[in-house]
Symmetry: C2
Subunit: 245 residues, 2 copies
């Protein structure tokens, strides 16, 4: 038996999220079924992040699994990519020590969020960006972003119903780049709570529309109260870019 690690790209708009579900089409379920069809072996894969419906992965999602079949990593990658739907692509497969687990071995993750400020929506980008035609105050957003960097208790920014006990996380960097009319936010941290990035983005959009002042962010974080950050930006603008080990 050997342990393998693979990176996966997918179009989140085609799936009900990463996690295997009984009836719904998931990324994990699709890959597991394809592995079973190819290798005649029941294989459970463990993903580093359980991305929601609509959230994309661009080389980001990483999964580990154990295999009895004797097949080379390159050969398995080739066979998987031929058998998988076009909405999923395996980037690389590597043999790793048996102690490796995609989720528990991860030390950090990088996500991107794209806001499209084109005056006219582009229907071909509808599933891949969050379109807002009304201009945002980008300077205010950049000021607000700085308050998120560092180690904080992010309970304010966790979807209600989540049962995680330790809600302290460290955000290592949070950057914004403009590409034409698209604003690409890149956030790296040691981990993110459920919906945390989408709630942070929802809050930043409120800042960009002057519903919240940048200097209120510190107090909103400190409040540890979900009601202070009620806006969750839609999933379609979010990309898992990299899992760090």
């Amino acid at each position: 038996m050997k342990t393998l690690k693979m990176t996966i790209r997918y179009d989140g708009s085609e799936f009900k999220g990463w996690q295997r579900q009984s009836q719904e089409c998931s990324v994990q379920g699709t890959i597991e079924q394809t592995l079973k069809a190819l290798l005649k072996e029941e294989i459970a894969i463990h993903g580093a992040g359980r991305t929601d419906a609509g959230v994309h992965s661009l080389n980001g999602q990483t999964a580990s699994f154990q295999l009895n079949t004797n097949i080379g990593a390159d050969q398995l990658k080739y066979a998987l990519n031929r058998a998988l739907p076009a909405s999923i692509h395996i980037g690389e497969i590597l043999e790793v020590p048996d102690t490796f687990h995609a989720r528990y071995s991860a030390v950090g993750k990088t996500y991107q969020y794209i806001i499209d400020q084109s005056p006219e929506a582009n229907p071909l980008r509808a599933k891949y960006v969050h379109h807002l035609d009304k201009p945002l105050d980008i300077e205010a957003i950049e000021e607000a972003m700085s308050y998120f960097v560092g180690t904080h208790d992010f309970q304010t920014f966790m979807a209600s119903g989540s049962k995680i006990e330790n809600t302290v996380r460290t955000i290592h960097s949070f950057e914004l780049k403009r590409q034409g009319d698209e604003f690409v936010f890149t956030i790296s941290g040691d981990g993110f709570l459920y919906n945390m990035i989408r709630i942070i983005m929802g809050t930043l959009i409120q800042v960009g529309y002057h519903k919240t002042m940048p200097n209120q962010i510190e107090a909103i974080i400190r409040s540890r109260c979900r009601e202070k950050a009620r806006h969750t930006a839609p999933a379609n603008g979010l990309y898992l870019m990299k899992v760090h080990y």
Copy 2:
């Protein structure tokens, strides 16, 4: 009553093509239903090109229609874009003379076709490019492209079953630009037969893989025989870019 002209962008992967059909979801049908819901008036819209399922429009598709309701063009555009699904966006609406007809007044069209030569497929582009990982001989393709420009009988490149009698068309220009791993073909002409661009692209791919020699293209065109060009490239790489009036 006034006559209006509008340009439409859409994500072709979300529709069974432009043309209204009884049960299937079409771009034309979706816009007509939305107009009816907004204006309480039965309106038939006439598109310049009947794009197939999967074919996209980027500002390209143009439609004309007649309206009794007294509403400004800008106001109608705003209301339509609010009511339409994100997969369709109205670019502009203009009042035009009553003699204008999007299809019969058109004097030419420009399409693009995108081939992605990335070694690894990008699942987020799967519905928007034709991915071929095996490298094409681009020089041979460029040589072959030159034979298509000009006025020819393009019967070889018309989908069988089509009943058009005059199969002579003029291609004004046919250009290729590289953008990273993507090869963007831009073709302009006075009109195109059913599936003509997809069959031309299918033939060029054969040239790129040395199954057909560039200098055979003249004879293939002259043959007026569909069997000489049996390959039809998939719809997902094709974009209607502009209708010329």
